[in-house]
Symmetry: C2
Subunit: 670 residues, 2 copies
């Protein structure tokens, strides 16, 4: 590693010589070896290509195809579209065994949840089961995650239910409502798939973790309130979602409360929460919480059947028709008055379910150390929903809770989804009559125990601790959802998040650098107390791209720096050494636009009037190019106003200073 050796020596000489005139020429040599050079030329087209690639293909999906025979390419292509072809061939009986176990486990969870979430979306319970049958099969073929357990989820169900209810009453015109549900599912799928195809996946990144935490908590709260209907056995309940109306209809119908229902709901809720607690304490016992819902359904059904519960005002699901998913493409409505609503609902539920699905996939991929391709997943989820909308299913995605169970139950591949879906099929064919006496209150309890997990106080506290602004967006999302509406809540929160980004650009940080004693390192004076200002030099580092949005601010700010600097200098020294050089450390200026360039021109001229010289340090490739194109005279790219490091700039410039200056700098207290 002797290639390191020269270093010490060089730095040595060039920093010395800055001080001792005799070494000057060496210094200059040294500096010349560190010339700031223009980057290798690239045609506009190539640059554009590069930019587009970084924007849309950061993962460079085609790399694996490079230098392959066309047969191989064909295979790889097929495998890319149908991941099943990757793991299918070497699928073993051993894997199958564990997949079956996992599949049965999630099925036991999927059936009660399916029924419950369908009710949450104001859809017939059976639609929930339909949705747990077809889509999982599709995903098993297309999906690239090994742990994702597909099915209806609470958030998407809630959002779809509440949004459609704005225009159509699920009780007034259930058939139309169903049609709209399937149609928005279709649009959701199209939207998700096209995000994947157009590689616009990054759009969902704008739902930051903070926003999601706030949003999910809010949604969970709303869902829980909705459950009061079934938990208290109220028959006349508001159609609205917001807290106030719900609370009204709860306390204006106290007469309808049925103590039997309440008692039953309470018992099963305690049971479910207990089970959840156990499994959380000891993940090995995941099956406790996984099995609990099904158990409660069975037990409660038998109970109601035995004691003729309906006589005690315990409402039950009632008769469910038997058989597999009927086709539903004839039910899609692409016209009419509700088209706008349906598209809006589709996009909304699409984004939300996508966010959950992708997040789940990434989480477990990270755990097991394999990679899921975001854009590929979007296509899979999207296609799955489109197919779903043709087969009487509503929006589905990979759910957190079920995927966790799937993972803990030892699922190895997407086959577990297939197993689950077969189990659901059997249920649809044979077991439907058994649900006739299942009490709604238990479904309410199941939903409640499920959504409670969505409220994550510790995470929220952590965000508060680390970043107050993020916490603000969190609160916005939370209160927006519970007081106004899901769309509004999310919209405002995302707007706030974007506003922050814009503010960071319009008000970039500028920090004043000083020299770390006895080194060639320059750092923020306010951060590193031992750093020392170099008299005659004002060294600023700008920490953002310079563009139309911030040039006026930067201009004002820089001149304030200069004023403050000169006041300070006057204060510090008996013998005044006025400002001679303004050094801009540009390492953090990732780009400039035409306005940015004009700022430099303006700065240079105004500073020259004040007898101050503008010096740029380490501008990045793009910045150099633009400056070069901008000023014909190449004024910025003059050797003596462009350096690679602050140290070199200070060294060579101060060596050029008048003697008087130099001496004045010697007796500077350090």
């Amino acid at each position: 590693m002797d290639h390191h050796h020269p270093n010490g020596v060089n730095t040595n000489t060039n920093t010395n010589t800055a001080m001792q005139p005799h070494g000057l020429e060496i210094a200059i040599d040294e500096l010349e070896t560190h010339q700031v050079v223009a980057p290798p030329h690239k045609s506009t087209l190539r640059k554009l290509k590069g930019k587009l690639k970084e924007t849309f293909f950061p993962d460079d999906p085609l790399r694996q195809f490079k230098g392959q025979s066309w047969q191989k390419k064909l295979v790889l292509g097929a495998q890319y579209l149908f991941p099943v072809l990757q793991w299918g061939p070497n699928y073993s009986f051993k894997l199958l065994k564990s997949d079956i176990v996992a599949g049965l486990t999630i099925a036991s969870l999927a059936i009660p949840q399916g029924i419950s979430y369908a009710k949450l979306a104001n859809l017939p319970p059976i639609v929930g089961l339909y949705s747990s049958f077809v889509p999982p099969l599709v995903y098993a073929v297309l999906g690239s995650s090994r742990d994702l357990a597909v099915g209806p989820v609470s958030i998407a169900s809630l959002v779809m239910g509440s949004m459609l209810r704005e225009e159509v009453s699920p009780t007034g015109d259930p058939f139309l409502f169903l049609q709209l549900a399937f149609t928005s599912t279709f649009f959701a799928g199209i939207f998700q798939a096209s995000l994947g195809v157009l590689r616009l996946g990054f759009i969902i990144d704008f739902l930051s973790k903070a926003i999601l935490i706030g949003f999910m908590a809010g949604a969970a709260l709303i869902v829980s309130l909705q459950q009061l209907k079934s938990l208290l056995g109220i028959t006349h309940f508001t159609d609205q979602m917001a807290i106030v109306p719900v609370m009204n209809s709860v306390f204006h119908h106290v007469d309808e409360w049925s103590w039997q229902t309440i008692l039953m709901g309470f018992c099963f809720l305690v049971l479910l929460l207990l089970a959840r607690h156990v499994s959380m304490r000891n993940p090995k016992l995941f099956w406790v919480s996984a099995g609990a819902p099904l158990v409660s359904v069975i037990v409660s059904t038998l109970l109601v059947f035995a004691i003729k519960g309906q006589n005690y005002g315990i409402s039950v699901i009632g008769k469910l028709q038997q058989g597999l998913n009927p086709p539903s493409f004839n039910m899609l409505r692409f016209g009419g008055t509700h088209l706008g609503l349906v598209i809006k609902t589709g996009i909304m539920t699409g984004i939300l379910s996508l966010t959950e699905g992708i997040a789940v996939g990434r989480t477990f991929a990270a755990l097991k150390n394999y990679k899921v391709d975001g854009n590929k997943e979007m296509m899979a989820i999207g296609f799955m929903n489109v197919v779903g909308s043709f087969t009487s299913c509503y929006v589905v995605t990979g759910s957190f809770s079920r995927s966790a169970v799937n993972h803990n139950a030892g699922a190895k591949t997407a086959v577990s989804n297939a197993v689950m879906s077969v189990t659901v099929m059997v249920t649809l064919l044979l077991l439907m009559p058994l649900f006739k006496y299942t009490p709604n209150v238990v479904l309410g309890a199941i939903i409640l125990s499920a959504v409670i997990g969505l409220i994550d106080i510790p995470a929220a506290y952590n965000i508060w601790k680390v970043d107050k602004y993020d916490f603000l967006t969190l609160l916005t999302a939370f209160f927006g959802v519970i007081t106004v509406s899901v769309q509004a809540g999310l919209g405002i929160a995302v707007g706030l998040a974007i506003l922050k980004i814009l503010l960071q650009v319009t008000r970039p940080k500028t920090v004043m650098l000083g020299q770390m004693p006895g080194t060639s390192i320059y750092r923020d004076l306010h951060h590193y107390k031992e750093a020392r200002r170099v008299p005659g030099f004002l060294i600023l580092s700008v920490e953002a791209p310079i563009n139309f949005a911030n040039i006026n601010y930067l201009n004002e700010r820089i001149f304030r720096w200069i004023e403050e600097f000169e006041e300070e200098e006057d204060r510090l020294k008996q013998q005044k050494s006025s400002l001679q050089f303004l050094i801009l450390e540009m390492s953090a200026v990732s780009s400039v636009d035409t306005s940015g360039v004009s700022l430099f021109k303006e700065l240079k001229s105004t500073l020259e009037n004040r007898g101050v010289e503008l010096v740029l340090v380490n501008p990045l490739a793009e910045v150099i190019e633009k400056l070069k194109k901008a000023d014909q005279v190449n004024d910025f790219l003059r050797e003596d106003s462009l350096y690679l490091t602050v140290a070199e700039a200070v060294a060579s410039l101060s060596s050029g200073m008048k003697k008087g200056q130099a001496s004045s700098m010697q007796d500077l207290p350090l």
Copy 2:
């Protein structure tokens, strides 16, 4: 300056020792002296205060008040509100003389332009003169620019005319139209003033230079087309603005063309353009172009009067009533159907006129080396328009053309505005009858010759040369304005500009650094060809704040870097030395949010699974704080994973490497 001396030696030793075990402890000492420390603690409140100050008071307007007696403070405060108190006291006769000359010069320009622009806004010509009388007086008291010449401007006139015309026909219901014009002027003033008061001036920064150039060119084109009506003497003309309808009504009324009108218009247009050309060639002859419009008005009026032009189908202004501005606050309509339109128009014209006014002020302030306070100017312009809306004036601001004349004519203070306004007053009182025979065609020619200056091809070309994306926004603004509408054109263009900022954040640059041979400097490998990669180290610098919008991208991108790096290493060396350290140079990461923090945690754990260690170099104050708050174990702030410079990191880490590695690195070709 011997304080520099230790440096060479130190760096020397510590880079040596990195290679020679014996010097190790010195290296460590050395490194310890460069500890990355947490920034001095600040309370959340103080941080918030700081942020707010940087956002809203970057110019720190209260600094001058610090440590002053309260009488002094009072005086300063008064001077802040009424700049006239600053220059008034030492105003001299000498100054007055040059101000009178300038004032008369701009008056000669203001009178014909006032009449013409009023017609451009579909308002009675006299309103243009009213608007050149009252507002300039107000500005003379409040304004802080010495060169701004206040009055109606083409852009704002055009926009107001076209926007109001969307709902009310100026010919159908001229009185209502006038009411709406005054009301939107009022809202424009309120909006401008409040921008200044709330210190939200940076909002106008979003109209970047590129957008403005495109917009002004488009507007100029539209205005010119509108002039075809008077230039060709067409009587039946469309009310619309867009190219197509205008062209239609031009060529569907060829029968209405009057050759006398065309001839006259042509002659005067040539005259005016010639005058403009002369003055542009030689600024000393500014008075040629300044006087030309008035001369043409006088000459043409006399001509028409002499030859009884109206008999030859030359349309004339007709009788104008005499006297000063009548009060108009009773004409403001704050209710009714058109309120929305009026507010929209007010904001639109407000922003546009503000942008022009501020730009003019800044330009000439820079020329004469004095400072105009943006927010103060906004209040002045806003107040001036509010007063205007009470006294039968429509939107005014500082116009480029007139201010240039004012400057060239040697204006010293805002008094020149007062002189102009007095001249206009005299005109209003005595000379109005003379305009009776002024032909509209000449007004058309005046407008045309004025707006042609707004089309700035060279500037557009420059933008194309420097930044293609900026040029795209320019084109968007241009075509948006001429094909759709002023609002749409500007809206889309600004949207594009913001989108670029967001893209820069969602797709931040990551560059791979290498060592500049024989130095402790690390720079972009693709930019500096001589830079060398250090085997076993992947050194990346991230060039943007890390937040929710880009963590997923950064995660993917970094792992692609790692793959590429390892392929490269395999290719380069016979004897494989695998990746051991990922060094993230954080100097350019100006901030992180909670998502950013989680990215680091995730990276660290995934890298550890790969046996790679994550090392951070020079994180900035804010980043350090957040990392500290985020991980209790202080994992990121461990000494051996946090360094002040890349060189030190490489030095101390490679000194820690196994012998085998070290040797393998010796025989690396450099």
